[in-house]
Subunit: 355 residues, 2 copies
Amino acid sequence: MKSRISCPTFIVKEDICRDNIRRMAENANVSDVIFRPHFKTHQSTLVGNWFREYGVKSITVSSANMAREFVSAGWDDITIAFPANLREIPEYNTMAADINLNLLTDSSEVTATLGANIKSPVGIFIEIDAGYGRSGIPYEKEKEIEKIIYLIDHAKQLSFKGFLTHSGNTYEACDTNEIKAIHQEVNEILLDLKKKFIGDHPDLIISIGDTPSCSILSDFHNVDEIRPGNFVYYDLMQYYLGSCKLSDIAVSVACPVTGIYPERNEIVIYGGAVHLSKEYLEQDDKFYGLLVNYTDDGRTEPIPVTRLISISQEHGIIRTSPEFLKTVKHGDLLGILPIHSCLTANLLKDKMIIV
Amino acid sequence: MKSRISCPTFIVKEDICRDNIRRMAENANVSDVIFRPHFKTHQSTLVGNWFREYGVKSITVSSANMAREFVSAGWDDITIAFPANLREIPEYNTMAADINLNLLTDSSEVTATLGANIKSPVGIFIEIDAGYGRSGIPYEKEKEIEKIIYLIDHAKQLSFKGFLTHSGNTYEACDTNEIKAIHQEVNEILLDLKKKFIGDHPDLIISIGDTPSCSILSDFHNVDEIRPGNFVYYDLMQYYLGSCKLSDIAVSVACPVTGIYPERNEIVIYGGAVHLSKEYLEQDDKFYGLLVNYTDDGRTEPIPVTRLISISQEHGIIRTSPEFLKTVKHGDLLGILPIHSCLTANLLKDKMIIV
């Protein structure tokens, strides 16, 4: 692997990746919930194909553009888990003519416009804001929810699929107990809604999505569908949240060493914001990744007292110990475990190697 | 313009862009310094071509990959302003056979390896760390600098071009006086080095590069070459540093409105970290961009008390006033002035419209 690489390269360990997929698929199976993984993390038709081997037939994406790519790769049951964008109705119509397409709405205005302009059957989830405060209709607004369901029921091509939420607030949790508590609260909110509307809509489902909840919980009681995405690769953010072990992180970025500075115990790598993204964590200080060495069959544990402390467009600065610094030479290849694998994978889409 | 756009799109105002280029070219001309603009900001062969009309013949890039793209577009005098990467020597050799290529070194090991492996004439700048602490040899290490020059002089294909620095610490400055002070200090360091080595190397030059210094100073006394990059577009970071006016910012990202939440005075746009990057500024609170409206001939000033306060992979949350919120409809197109145009341009390379 190492001899082929001259610039920052996204290294995907297939065995770790497949273990992550298999575990999540098994969990979904045991709980008897639909497993509709989010493909926004890997955005790769090749990695996408691995999921088929674990029984996955339906997927989630975050844009019409991404949906199109996976339609081309043969996927025919796709939820675009992003608020329906009225400017993309022509794209939705093109896809809905060929596949099972689900869209999200959180307003009666958008629902009415979809109803009047969608020309093939489309499933509609009502996105619920159960506390995260990003998109979705606040769960208390029952009159508005009723109005949206009425509009869906009276639109020729739309059918009501159920209630969907993304509990992104689990990413702010301090520990796994807090993640479980958030999940519990969200679940009760969705269950209340389900009880209220299932009489007239016996097929409606509840769909949840965040990787922290889906990784930490083993039982998805009262949920009908899960849509985690990040778990396929995991990353340091998930590790510090308690969603995964370091050895579950399937990806790293291989970066050439281009500078060694013993006077400040720092190494400069070719690897910056256009490769890793500017996502950071704060544990005492800000950092942008941890360092590993590549070995013949994988990689080492993170190098002790060593962090990627700063990044600019193409440069990364690693602060390390004098002992480790002595082992490094110009032109060596070091690995960075990313903070947020979704953003790193997006930046290095065309620079990926599977090992 | 607006009717064609359905997803986040990078809007480049050609007239502002050309004004920015013309002003910097004139400044360089008045000071009689070489103007070798950094093309890492726009990474566009089309925008690159505009520079030719203002007399630019030599350019700066930050990677071998970027150099290759501009070689294909007809540029034949290129400095790769990134520490020479020993893993890319084959790429350097391919380019050096056809064009005037300059590389950077800050160590005798790298210089020796280049000397032994570079097969066509290549110019070498010694990168000096004059206080920024990223790459470059600390300016006090004169023995090492002498050794590097010796190695360059005794390598068949290498020729010593001079001393180069990037004062990225100007980005941490509190005001324009601090930027001027940093520039002054850096300039004296480079001038000292020039005096010491010009006897044996009468053609050596001093090259500086940061947009804040190059924008704020009108006289580049004692400098031979400037390499600013960001000025072509500018952005909010430069505006808050005092390097430009808001009206000098040549770029914005057009984002569809996909959610309106009057209960929290927030709007959700289709526009997130994969479009804008996660770069932020802190003025009281963190923010990721300012909002403008598009008009028939351009855009408005930033909307008052309105900021992009949060971004995830594809979503952006704008907090605004009740008054402005009332004017917004689902499917509207709003503009975001980016924090750091280099990273935004890199993310939206394939989604650019020139107006």
